[in-house]
Symmetry: C2
Subunit: 347 residues, 2 copies
DNA sequence: TGCTATTATGTTATCGATAACATGTTATCG
DNA sequence: CGATAACATGTTATCGATAACATAATAGCA
């Protein structure tokens, strides 16, 4: 492990020379599963250890046309959601022996998409994970473009499209669960504070709320909801609006915990008792939710798992492609779960 | 932009052939700044556009011994702090034309360190950013190992060491500011809830609190502090302990906002008025802090900026090395700032 | 006018590894 | 015992690009 000249890289040639064999033999030792005599193997391994030789992944990728690298395109890393997902991705990629090359979009229009894809392909990534929220038509590009991308692509948190692989939390089902929970504790005038409705995820959550109420024979009009932008500040605004439009509400399903936090706070300020006068349920289950005052009932989505599953899927697709099997596109959902806490705890 | 056979990669040879020139000429067109006639350039550019040719970064990196890629080693992406830093890193790297290869450590012992470094070096990264919190002696490895790493390394949030480059938030100064703020509003019995004291950052924050009190001629004994593990749940525990050990405290500096959140909540529950009976100040300025009840005074650290500065530094080091200039190791601090809110607002 | 500088392009070597092929040696078996 | 399979190793071509060198045409200048 001791190299006299730290500047120059140790290459397979150095090892071959020092061990008195050909480079091919060194390669065979490094990659196992090929005929090498025990004696030679040991000698080469000793030299490898002594020189601290590490094969260049770059060179290997070039000849093998395969990089064991996944390209990740994300957005909004400064928020907790995307980074939880990234955490799952990083974990699982590591387990499966893949490296990650990361690109973060700094806005949500599609101006840089070509660039980003090209730069990932130029790195010979074996597959691409597209972990950018679907907002408006910012995923429209994929219709024309997807089939000319030479590697598999998997989308995270996207509206399922036929012929395109994706993994997402089942936002709709989560919202159904949340709304049913409010019904189950006897609430009937259930409001909703949604995320920005250009977001697919926000729409799904709202749809879950609406359809559940309708199925229960209750009203679910626009009077009963208002829209925030996920931030605590916007939650405050949205709550004020909602109180005005729908003054006699007895509960509210808030599309994320951060906005729900503001609702708890403002309700408290105005002397509204929770959960008796107003039951509140959020979505996401951020770590702080358990420590709000009162603690917040919420729908827990496992973003870590989402990331892990995404990597597993894309790696399967990569391997299928390597074996010239055809890839069957698949859209999968991860089910979120209900976590009951004080903000809906009615005895 | 229309390729007949989407399977095979378009290489420089395809372009050369289609344009009726040598590969070298294509290379010259792609890289500008070399003699190519206007006519040839246009013809080649047209072919490039038509075939959708993109040079292989891999091949280029191999011959140039330079990858325009930075290796990032992180820990705890599921927490908001590390991902904010990563966000800054990704931003700035993109601006400077670098890609990121990411490795996340899944624990803090040093078992996988050699592996991680090796795998990054095998990718020919031009430099490494080590963004793992310093805990106990988990940075001890660098003493022996650093000089045999063939590329520059920069450490984020590490105790400054001579001869090693690093960037960190000035936790000490932040704590001083926080404590002075409590003094300035007339508090004299100031407690502290620290992070886990194996963490360098936690130690620095505690030191800032202690030394500021001592300088003001006040006591700062172990009776006046307790220790959490950054989580809201641990903040609750630590607060109970503190109340027992130091019942007549009039204010508390909590080492992060998540724990401070629990303090606010428990104080509220016990009917302790904030800030009159107990002033509370946190550290980090997470987005929710402004919306706690009451809103939380805190020390804001700009992790985005920290990430950006780190990238700038490492890129400078990379370039210096490329030009065979010597690299001067440097330790820099980013100053955090005080954000005053209701939890210390005494008229 | 002839020599050097500038412009334009092609040829060959190279980065560090593996694939494909070739060759020689040793075991195995009818 | 000779043919064939299994083992062991080396040689050459290759991945996709650029570096280094070579060549040729044109221009500028003493």
């Amino acid at each position: 492990m001791n190299l006299s000249n730290p500047k120059r890289r140790i290459t397979i040639k150095d090892v071959a020379q020092a061990a008195g064999v050909s480079t091919q033999t060194v390669s065979r030792v490094m990659n196992k599963f090929s005929y090498v005599s025990e004696e030679t193997r040991l000698r080469v391994e000793a030299v490898v250890e002594e020189l601290g030789y590490r094969p260049s992944t770059l060179a290997r990728s070039l000849i093998q046309q395969r990089s064991y690298t996944l390209g990740i395109v994300t957005y909004g890393l400064k928020y907790i959601g995307p980074s939880r997902t990234l955490n799952g991705i990083a974990d699982q990629a590591d387990k499966l022996g893949y490296m990650l090359v990361m690109k973060e979009l700094d806005n949500l229009d599609s101006s840089r998409i070509e660039d980003v894809i090209d730069s990932l392909l130029a790195r010979q990534v074996d597959g691409i994970l597209w972990a950018v929220p679907e907002i408006g038509d910012n995923h429209a590009w994929l219709d024309g473009r997807l089939q000319n991308i030479s590697v598999p692509v998997l989308f995270i948190a996207m509206h399922p499209r036929p012929g395109v692989s994706s993994v997402a939390t089942d936002n709709y089902q989560g919202a159904v669960t949340a709304t049913e929970h409010l019904l189950s504790i006897g609430k009937r005038r259930i409001g909703h504070i949604s995320g920005p409705l250009s977001w697919w995820e926000a729409m799904e959550r709202k749809r879950g709320w609406r359809e559940t109420l309708q199925k229960a024979g209750l009203d679910a009009s626009e009077q009963q909801c208002s829209e925030g932008n996920w931030s605590p500040a916007s939650g405050e605004q949205a709550f004020f609006q909602l109180l005005e439009k729908f003054p006699d509400l007895d509960s509210v399903f808030v599309a994320n915990d951060q906005m729900a936090l503001s609702v708890l706070r403002e309700a408290h300020r105005q002397g509204i008792t929770i959960p008796e006068q107003l039951a509140v349920i959020g979505f996401d289950n951020i770590p702080e939710s358990a420590h709000f005052y009162p603690s917040l009932t919420t729908i827990s989505q496992d973003l870590q798992l989402l990331g892990e599953e995404a990597v597993q899927s894309i790696v399967q697709m990569v391997q299928a492609r390597q074996n010239r099997e055809s890839i069957v596109a698949e859209s999968r959902f991860i089910q979120p779960t209900l976590v009951i806490r004080e903000s809906t705890a009615i005895q």
